[in-house]
């Protein structure tokens, strides 16, 4: 058998050597899919890993963490908790997102009791720098310790001042040393708890208490005793729970990215399939010969699969390397949250993950092998004697004509798209999309035969030839067709989804930005705000017709979910739609019912709120009843938002400060002039952020585009892969059909006419692919918009078709197919074509 085997090897290698570009494209497609999947995983793993290390270092030896939201809870809880039996030590802390003048991102500052933290969270004890430390660095009012990454970020060193903003006032802290033991990448400052309460106007409240328990304490029992002491809205968790919650935050986003990567992989697998299918058909004669010479079926199968395995291995290896590079570059450029803001203040570093590499590598390999499995099996099944005869290639495609599985898949997809999310993830929706695509593609050969078979007769020779060819050998055409269909439908689906989202966002911004000028003291939750006095100054600024203020605070309704945002703002209860983008009708509040709130769609999805229902919110340590009076769309926050009237907010929380102001200007008073005036009038008016609605719109759309950068990239990849599919398909076909061309030339068809025939074939094929892709892609988009998005992000959007983009791409695709097909056939039309005919007869 030795000579036979070496002959097989020679043939296999010869195939690769003869068509390096075609094989390379398949390898690259696999590589792109693997790279995307691996990169997304690496980036996310780096971010969550860093976050989890950070949580662990912050919690230190703590067994439990009592955690309130930014508004905090009364410090009266602290001695009660500290005295609970079972408590070894209780370490209270104040957590502040300190606004730094001229910096966009706030700095997390933790105020600790150094004596308590020494037992529970030793990592938070700084190392004083001898020269800078002074007398009592851990207790002084203006002393702060910074983590190494905060030092880097600020370009500061021990001994330097650190300016922080409280309200609009600027205060100076002095850096006394480094927090050596915290997760090296966390931007963090630590100061005395009493000093922090004083400096940041947090006297009387705490954000956290970390507990270490005595050995042998029954945690379940202890937690139930503890929970009785805690005010409503204050949660308890172990370090593991805290890490899990923070990782849950980004899960939907992460899964969506991974699915996109899988889509790329799927496209790659498809490309391998079309490449292999053609290669197998082309070499049908060779395989027949090998079988006649005594090669066993299983051996032939192994050899063909070995070819695909080689492609898969190359693609996977290339993809893993590429994925690592992409992940590193992305982290360096955009940070660990992929532009989505889930991991603020964490600067992760990448760690090679062998398990994930194996997973994605094997996935790529599996795609390659699976892609070539059907053609390989077909090749092996063919009776050797028949395979040796010319013209048998089309027979190989007969198996592709079955339509039952396709219809079953589509029916299943429709059924799946009605299922709810599983564990907060739109698993059924994704499955529906996968089924829809595979089902649609598998129906294509039959569809091609039906459609091309009905093409009317025409005197135009190339058109007639093209139509006859497509009708007579639909199987061959189907391969190129499926490539176009797969890539174009994916592209259409993503384009429709992104356009719908973007247009909806644009319309949403119209409602959300009714004023002429916006002022922001800082990011919501940080230490900057407009005091009542500042608000008075703003309202009375010449040129200002009206000013509306809003205060945002996080509110924890469920310890297992991220906090929702509570916004206190002036809102006309009779016409809330003038400020928020209502979905459906609002409800007029009645005099005798609980005060109204207007909730975002996420509140309906996640917490089961419904219009008119009465709900209890934990505010100021009490449960207070409200009536849900409207549901609105909030693209700014996906974890849930509740709008409450500002007067109710101030009355209940006692907090009259504001994060943001919206100004309506008198006619004739310019935005720039008013801004200039405000800068002068307000204390530290230059630290306030001023935005025109146009700037906010631009910025929001920019953030949107950045978040969808990966999607755009995938769209481009899909199109490139689609075109590559045509190159492979027609290039392969053209070589396969060299006998046919020779024949045509022989009977007097001109070279030009053969070229035109091929171009037309390509164009017709692409046209069918584009039309079918439009339908299939539209259906996928519908699932994305109506199922996947609401289930992942809890917001709805209106359907919008980017006709221009889609028709432009469709045109390009058809034209490119025509050109590609003609170009690919050129070689086959050379002088040796005639020889090819002669040889065969």
């Amino acid at each position: 058998m030795k000579p036979l085997q070496s002959m097989v090897s020679t043939m296999l290698l010869g195939e690769v050597r003869a068509h390096p570009a075609r094989n390379a494209i398949a390898v690259i497609a696999i590589a792109i899919g693997v790279a995307m999947g691996y990169a997304v995983h690496l980036i996310n793993d780096a971010a969550t890993g860093e976050f989890s290390r950070t949580v662990r270092s912050l919690m230190g030896n703590a067994d439990l963490e009592i955690r309130g939201t930014a508004a905090g809870f009364s410090e009266a809880v602290y001695p009660l908790v500290a005295r609970l039996p079972g408590v070894e030590a209780a370490s209270p802390s104040v957590v502040v997102e300190a606004r730094l003048p001229d910096r966009v991102e706030p700095l997390n500052i933790i105020g600790i009791d150094v004596f308590r933290a020494a037992i529970v969270q030793p990592a938070l004890i700084g190392r004083p720098e001898a020269q800078a430390a002074g007398a009592l660095p851990f207790l002084e009012n203006n002393a702060i310790f910074l983590s190494p990454s905060a030092m880097d970020w600020l370009g500061a060193k021990p001994g330097d001042p650190l300016l922080v903003q409280v309200g609009l006032e600027v205060r100076t802290l002095w850096i006394k040393g480094t927090l050596a033991a915290t997760g090296a990448s966390q931007r963090l400052g630590v100061m005395d708890i009493g000093a922090a309460q004083w400096l940041f106007s947090r006297v009387g409240t705490l954000q956290r208490i970390d507990l270490s328990l005595r050995p042998g304490t029954n945690e379940v029992e202890f937690r139930s005793r503890l929970s009785r002491l805690l005010p409503v809205g204050v949660d308890v968790g172990t370090p593991t729970e805290t890490v899990r919650r923070s990782s849950d935050l980004s899960r939907a986003y992460r899964v969506n990215l991974t699915v996109l990567a899988l889509v790329a992989l799927f496209t790659g697998a498809f490309l391998v399939f079309s490449n292999q299918a053609l290669a197998v058909i082309r070499r049908r004669g060779q395989f027949g010969l090998l079988r006649v010479l005594g090669l066993k079926r299983s051996e032939l199968l192994r050899f063909i699969l070995a070819e695909a395995t080689l492609q898969g291995v190359l693609g996977a290896a290339l993809g893993l390397g590429l994925g690592y590079l992409v992940a590193s570059a992305t982290l360096a450029w955009a940070g660990g949250d992929l532009g989505a803001g889930y991991f603020k203040g964490v600067v992760p570093s990448i760690h090679v993950d062998v398990e994930a590499a194996l997973f994605f590598g094997l996935l790529g390999l599996a795609c390659a092998v699976l892609g070539s499995l059907a053609p390989a099996v077909e090749a092996v099944r063919a009776p050797p004697a028949r395979a040796l005869r010319a013209g048998d290639e089309e027979a190989a495609m007969q198996g592709m004509q079955t339509i039952v599985p396709g219809f079953v898949a589509i029916a299943l997809a429709i059924a799946l798209s009605f299922l709810p999310a599983a564990g907060g993830l739109p698993i059924a929706g994704y499955l529906a999309i996968a089924l829809l695509l595979t089902g649609g593609i598998s129906l294509m050969p039959r569809l091609a035969r039906i459609i091309f078979g009905r093409l009317p007769g025409t005197p135009n020779i190339p058109l007639h030839l093209a139509a006859t060819q497509l009708t007579g050998a639909p199987g061959r055409a189907a391969i190129g067709l499926a490539g176009i269909l797969a890539s174009f439908s994916l592209m259409v689906a993503m384009a429709i989804m992104v356009a719908s989202f973007r247009t909806s966002l644009d319309q949403w911004l119209d409602v959300a930005l009714p004023a002429d000028l916006y002022l922001r003291a800082g990011t919501p939750g940080d230490s900057a705000y407009f005091s009542l006095n500042d608000q008075r100054l703003i309202s009375l600024t010449p040129g200002v017709l009206r000013a509306e203020y809003q205060r945002s605070i996080p509110l924890s309704l469920d310890p297992d979910r991220p906090p929702v945002t509570l916004i206190g703002r002036s809102l006309d209860a009779a016409n809330p739609g003038s400020r928020i983008a209502l979905v459906g009708a609002a409800r007029r509040p009645l005099a005798n019912e609980a005060p109204p709130i207007w909730v975002s769609e996420a509140m309906v999805d996640l917490y089961g709120y419904s219009l008119g229902s009465q709900v209890l919110l934990p505010l100021a340590g009490k449960r207070i009843a409200f009536t849900v009076s409207g549901i609105w769309r909030d693209y700014a926050r996906q974890h849930g938002t509740i709008v409450i009237d500002r007067q109710d907010f101030t009355r209940i929380t006692g907090d009259a400060n504001a994060n943001e102001a919206a100004l309506w200007l008198l006619p004739g008073s310019g935005q720039a002039a008013t801004e200039k005036l405000l800068r002068q009038r307000l204390p530290n008016g230059d630290h306030v952020e001023y935005y025109s609605p146009g700037e906010i719109r631009e910025r929001s759309l920019k953030i949107f585009d950045r978040s969808f950068a990966v999607t755009y990239l995938l769209e481009a990849v899909a199109i490139v892969i689609g075109l590559a599919g045509i190159v492979v398909s027609f290039g392969g076909q053209a070589l396969l059909r060299s006998r046919e061309f020779g024949m045509l030339r022989h009977i007097g068809v001109s070279r030009r006419q053969v070229g035109a025939m091929l171009a037309l074939e390509g164009a017709l094929l692409a046209l069918l692919g584009v039309v079918a892709g439009l339908i299939l892609g539209g259906a996928v988009a519908l699932i994305l918009i109506r199922v996947v998005n609401p289930q992942s992000f809890h917001w709805t959007m209106d359907l919008h078709f980017p006709w221009q983009l889609i028709s432009a791409v469709a045109l390009v695709l058809v034209a490119a197919s025509a050109v590609t097909a003609a170009w690919a056939g050129r070689r086959a039309m050379g002088s040796e074509a005639v020889r090819a005919v002669r040889e065969d007869w």
């Binding site: 410090e75 602290y78 001695p79 500290a82 005295r83 209270p92 105020g111 009791d113 004596f115 308590r116 020494a118 004083p128 430390a133 002074g134 007398a135 009592l136 660095p137 851990f138 207790l139 002084e140 009012n141 005395d192 708890i193 009493g194 000093a195 309460q197 004083w198 006297v203 009387g204």
Partner: protein, 356 residues
């Protein structure tokens, strides 16, 4: 003149700032101490401690040395801060035990800022606690000590057998060449101890004899001081002897002082130049390399004896916590071949000069 409280402050890097500050009340001669008020805390003063040392005996007659200290400090910060966490009063506690069968000090400590009822030092009488560590004087004059460490626990009752002993000039105790270098200082020697002690996984009922010092001040030490040797002995005849010397960097005595009260309550006047502490034998710590004069010859007026330690290794190495190293241990006063009494000796500044 007790070190462990000072050591607690050293960790805060504070020792450099010992110049008199106008905000703190000065220590002046002629202020009559009044009880029980002066048993309580004096939160306006910069520093204050309640320092209990003594010898215990288990049921089987084995000797143990013990030390329990509560220390209060008012740092020069946090004043004016409305926060209940403002660090304007800090509390520290130390507990140590010498058991010759173990051979080294068992030591634990607590520290906290005062507040929230979790750590407080009352003013009306001795009543100071950090979490579940406490020292409290009852209306019956008895002291209750409760220490619940991980390795070391004490539940002790201390009953006075003698009147209060005012140190120095009616409680005004000079500590240096300057009149401002002084403290308010009184002692209660010959306290009868009973209760339980736990270490090494075993709980034992104990009896013994202890000594309490209560001292408060705002400025105390001369700038040149690098350390000191202090001794307090319950003499078997009912007498009580206190002696100390403050050393400079050359090992010379910057200041010496001794007080002696006889068993019958009469005080013996002792001139400053009649106090002599002479090292007889030194012990080198295998951990730190410091050499302590663990056997010391003491001559105070007509009294003359050697101090023999319960065990050589009574070094307190607190570099990982308070950052300080000193020797604080149970000693027996031996005159000729006869035991004259028992007490405690403190040796500081031998590992490294105190940065004063």
């Amino acid at each position: 003149m007790r070190i462990s409280g000072w050591a607690a402050l050293l960790v805060l890097g504070w020792v450099a700032a010992f110049a008199a500050l106008p905000d703190y009340p000065r220590v002046l001669p002629g202020r009559a101490l009044s009880f029980p008020r002066d048993h309580g805390a004096h939160p306006e003063h910069r520093t204050e401690w309640w320092y209990v040392t003594g010898w215990l005996e288990t049921n089987s007659g084995e000797p143990l040395g013990f030390q329990v200290t509560f220390f209060r400090s008012k740092p020069d910060i946090g004043q004016g801060n409305p926060s209940r966490f403002a660090p304007d009063q800090l509390l520290f506690a130390h507990a140590a035990l010498s058991d010759p069968r173990i051979g080294y000090l068992i030591h634990e400590q607590r520290s906290a800022r005062a507040g929230f009822g979790l750590a407080e030092a009352e003013q009306r009488d001795t009543d100071v606690h950090i979490d579940d560590w406490s020292l409290k004087r009852g209306t019956d004059d008895h002291y209750q000590i409760s220490i619940k460490g991980r390795e070391l626990q004490f539940e002790l009752t201390l009953v006075p057998t003698q009147p209060i002993l005012l140190q120095g000039d009616a409680g005004y105790s000079r500590k240096g060449p300057l009149a401002s270098e002084a403290s308010y200082y009184y002692s209660q020697p010959h306290l009868e101890v009973s209760g339980t002690e736990s270490h090494d996984g075993h709980s034992r009922s104990v009896k013994g004899r202890a000594w309490i010092d209560h001292e408060w001040s705002s400025t105390m030490l001369a700038k040149e001081a690098v350390g000191w040797d202090w001794v307090g002995i319950n003499l078997d005849d009912g007498g009580a002897l206190t002696a100390f010397r403050i050393r400079d960097s050359a090992g010379r005595a910057l200041w010496t002082h001794a007080s002696r009260r006889r068993g019958d309550g009469t005080k013996v006047a002792i001139a400053a130049n009649a106090v002599n502490l002479v090292p007889i034998r030194r012990w080198r710590s295998p951990r730190t390399g410091a050499r302590y004069p663990v056997v010391m010859h003491v001559a105070v007026g007509d009294l003359s004896f050697d101090l023999v330690p319960l065990q050589d290794d009574q070094e307190l190495d607190a570099r990982t916590s308070t950052g300080n190293v000193y020797w604080e241990g149970a000693v027996t006063a031996v005159g000729g071949s006869k035991a004259l009494g028992r007490g405690y000796m403190e040796l500081t500044g031998y590992f490294r000069p105190l940065r004063l």
